[in-house]
């Protein structure tokens, strides 16, 4: 009985000590981790959708509230004026959510381009949505974006319809957020 008690006490002591120290460490590192993720995961996609930026979209980011969600928006300046913004949308693919960074031209509400941030689609099939052949279709496209099978202008990749539709719905989600947030965005950066 005594042995049992000491086992339980020691185990719970170790677990609570580890729990407390990890929770503290987690709090201390959270802002650093967020900055690193932005720079390394979203950063390359942002550079792809706004290649000619003369500001630092990642550093000038702002978070907006929409229906209780926190949406990160990245401004894209050219010649000192706000030319566009980039924000991320998610859509369901074959192997989980597909994250797509979408750039919007604030002057005429068309798309600047898209860059895939996160996905776990089958390599060689669904993963082709990250290739220029697919993403190029979105450059300069007018909203609303829709796949050709549903009456739009975006061609799905043959053999990877689900992934293509997932990417399109991610773009649509980002477009909806953009349209809802546009007044606030213009106010924040103009």
């Amino acid at each position: 009985m005594r042995e049992m008690a000491s086992m339980i006490i020691v185990l719970s002591l170790i677990c609570s000590a580890s729990g407390f120290s990890l929770a503290y460490l987690r709090q201390a590192t959270a802002p650093l981790i967020e900055a690193q993720v932005l720079e390394n995961v979203q950063g390359p996609a942002i550079t792809r959708v706004c290649p000619a930026a003369d500001n630092q979209p990642v550093e000038e980011r702002k978070a907006f509230e929409l229906d209780g969600r926190r949406i990160m928006v990245f401004p894209y300046r050219q010649g000192g004026k706000l030319a566009g913004v980039a924000l991320e949308g998610k859509g369901g693919g074959f192997g989980g959510d597909i994250g797509v960074m979408v750039g919007f031209n604030v002057n005429n509400d068309s798309l600047l381009g898209i860059g895939v941030t996160t996905m776990s689609e089958t390599p060689g099939l669904g993963a082709k949505i990250a290739e220029p052949k697919f993403t190029r279709q979105f450059q300069g496209a007018a909203m609303p974006v829709e796949a050709r099978t549903r009456g739009g202008a975006v061609d799905a990749i043959s053999g990877a319809t689900v992934s293509s539709l997932g990417a399109v719905s991610a773009v649509q989600a980002a477009s909806r957020d953009y349209q809802a947030l546009k007044p606030q965005i213009l106010q924040a950066w103009q």
């Binding site: 086992m7 120290s21 650093l32």
Partner: protein, 221 residues
């Protein structure tokens, strides 16, 4: 002081993992695509190994025998989560490169093997010396293997081209088969050295043995 040095230095040559004591093969094979990854993995292992050795040695007297392995795993896992968070915060690209092998440090035989074979039986200063020595030995070994594979497989060292324009890289060396073959040849070379030197000294040679003391390798029947 002499005993501290003895425990520290054995990890650097006489028992250098994974060459002399075959411990922690998974990360050794998986992350040594380049010298830089090797160093990164090695440093992460040093962090976990030194602290886990120290903590386990500190609490060794109050841990009941029956649950000691679970306690060791809990301590090691805590440290691994800590290094995961720190790596995400400071070296995110490296964290992505090493991928799943960062959390897998917790099941690396080196950690549990040293905990069971050394830290649970020795005072704190010796346990830290042992962890530091083994960790540095492991880092040196990973960096060496990583440089070798990067040099042959890509003609580069730490990302800089060093082999000249006429060098045609053996791409296979940075693919999966290259890892096995390079490590196999290195182990054979280590054996060769010890056989030759033992023969000179007129002793029976000992070749590197598997088994790590953590009980995950050999079946005891």
């Amino acid at each position: 002081m002499a005993s501290v040095w003895k425990e520290f230095s054995k990890g650097l040559w006489a028992e250098i993992p994974p060459f002399r004591v075959v411990l922690g093969l998974c990360p050794t094979l998986a992350v040594t695509k380049s010298a830089e990854n090797g160093i990164g993995m090695g440093l992460a292992v040093i962090f976990v190994l030194v602290l886990s050795n120290a903590l386990i040695s500190l609490v060794r007297k109050i841990i009941p025998k029956k649950v000691r392995i679970v306690c060791f795993i809990a301590i090691a896992a805590t440290l691994v989560v800590a290094i995961e968070l720190l790596m995400q915060a400071f070296t995110y690209p490296l964290y992505q490169q090493l991928g799943i092998f960062v959390p897998l440090i917790v099941v690396n035989c080196i950690i549990l093997g040293r905990a069971e074979a050394f830290a649970a039986k020795n005072p704190v200063h010796l346990a830290i010396a042992d962890g530091l020595g083994m960790g540095i030995g492991f880092t040196v070994a990973l960096t060496f293997l990583g440089s070798l594979r990067e040099l042959l497989g890509a003609g580069q060292l730490f990302g800089h081209a060093v082999m000249g324009g006429s060098f045609k890289p053996f791409t296979i060396m940075i693919e999966a088969p290259g890892a096995f073959i390079a490590l196999g040849c290195l182990l054979a070379l280590m054996n060769c050295i010890s056989i030759v030197s033992a023969r000179r000294a007129g002793k029976e040679p000992s070749v590197n043995a598997g088994g790590c003391g953590c009980g995950c390798c050999e079946v005891k029947q």
